[in-house]
Amino acid sequence: MIDQYIETYKVFEIGIYKSLLETLDMMFTAMLISLIIGLLIGFMLFITGTGGIYKNKTIYFITSGIVNITRSIPFILFIIVIIPFNRLILGTGFGVNASKIPLSFIGIATFARFVEKDLLDVDKDIYETSYALGANTIQYFIYFLLREARSGLVLSFTSTTISLLSYSTVMGIIGGGGLGYLAISEGYYNFNYSLMWIIIIIMIIIVQIVQTTGNIIAKKIDKR
């Protein structure tokens, strides 16, 4: 049985390697965009929400609504709905680069909500402390909130990354390729179940590596 898996792996080695690179390419871009924009939107939700320093029901309602809508549309439909936007930005609705757009949107929405929760978990007195020490709003965010919430944020980003890996598997619908697409098109549809299982095992290994790395970093930087 193992021989059969080794044989399949050898046959599809180049394809698996190419698909892995496509997955990593989509993932890294989406992760980077989600990290930066998700962090800022999460902060905006935090400061405009109940108890926030710039409490504003309208801004919170609109931002929170957009985040919820992005997360509630079934992802496979979201990919299709967003094709015109991909065309507007990249000139094409299909391919690996076009796949990075819906993946980034879902990453931003997922991470922003995590960030809001992580910041809400920080001691409520921290704003008064930052004010009394002379900090402005940006310094409050960088020197106080991010410092104190950092281990929670690392774990949240780890979860977002794993979600992105999962979402990336359906990118084949717009020609994004990747491991998930190879497992379905070459594995499942072609009755090549050993290929499908090889890819599932690769995905499990990636998730394990990401989660373990996230846990180690979060534990190391949490000094509280």
Binding site: D123, L133, R147, E148, I221, D222, R224
Partner: protein
């Protein structure tokens, strides 16, 4: 140093506007250690937060270092003040010296000079050996000393203390009060202390405002005694 002219403040409690500070007028002089004493909920901590501009009055004017405190001036003026909190409010993810250095980092001051200054201040508060320790490993008294060193980092003209010893035991409280008194004498810093503990106020303050239901009920001048440590036995047997 600080002037309150007919200051009032309302809070919304259970959807109802409630007046917590009611037409307060008071003045605090330079180099003074001024106490605000009163029962829990009397409004003394609110007065402290009005003084440093963290909250704004609904009526009246506040002057800090001869300048009117408002939305435009408060971020500049607050940089000449500092605050010591009841629960220390240190950052758990920073070690002792990083906490002390934080105010100078905010002010974007020269790092090298500041490290030397932070080390000197840690020595002044008696914590030179704990520079690299994290806050979770410190006792309550040590945490308050770190907070005091952090306060002194920017040479504030004014220090606000909100119940600085209420989370500490008798002996540690004495040490912290002694430190505050030394700061007042050595650096000529004006100190405003909020406390519900009469012994703290008596040990430290030159003048005291008694706050009752958001109003100044009385202002009393005190002759402070020399601070000396007392044992639990002495504390229990004293009148």
């Amino acid at each position: 140093m600080i002037r309150f002219e007919n200051v009032s403040k309302d809070f919304i409690v259970n959807d109802k506007k409630t007046r917590v500070i009611n037409h307060i007028t008071l003045s605090i002089e330079k180099k003074e250690i001024y106490g605000l004493v009163g029962q829990t909920g009397s409004g003394k901590s609110t007065i402290l937060r009005l003084m440093n501009g963290f909250i704004e009055p609904d009526d009246g004017d506040i002057y800090l270092m001869d300048e009117k405190l408002d939305e435009k001036t408060k971020h500049r003026l607050v940089k000449d003040t500092s605050m010591i909190f009841q629960s220390f409010n240190l950052l758990g993810n920073l070690n002792v010296i990083e906490n002390v250095l934080l105010p100078s980092k905010i002010r974007k001051e020269n790092k090298k000079d500041n490290i030397r200054k932070a080390q000197k201040l840690l020595s002044f508060v008696g914590l030179s050996n704990l520079e690299q320790s994290y806050i979770r490993n410190l006792s309550g008294g040590e945490k308050q000393r770190v907070a005091i060193a952090r306060t002194l980092m920017t040479n504030p003209k004014l220090i606000f203390c909100d119940e600085p010893t209420s989370a500490l035991d008798e002996k540690t409280s004495y040490e912290i009060l002694k430190l505050l008194k030394d700061i007042n004498e050595k650096f000529e810093t004006t100190i405003v202390v909020v406390s519900h503990d009469i012994s703290v106020i008596k040990a430290l303050c030159n003048r005291v405002a008694i706050i009752e239901r958001g109003k100044v009920a009385d202002i009393i001048s005190l002759k402070t005694k020399d601070l000396r440590p007392i044992s639990y036995k002495e504390a229990l047997l004293s009148d």
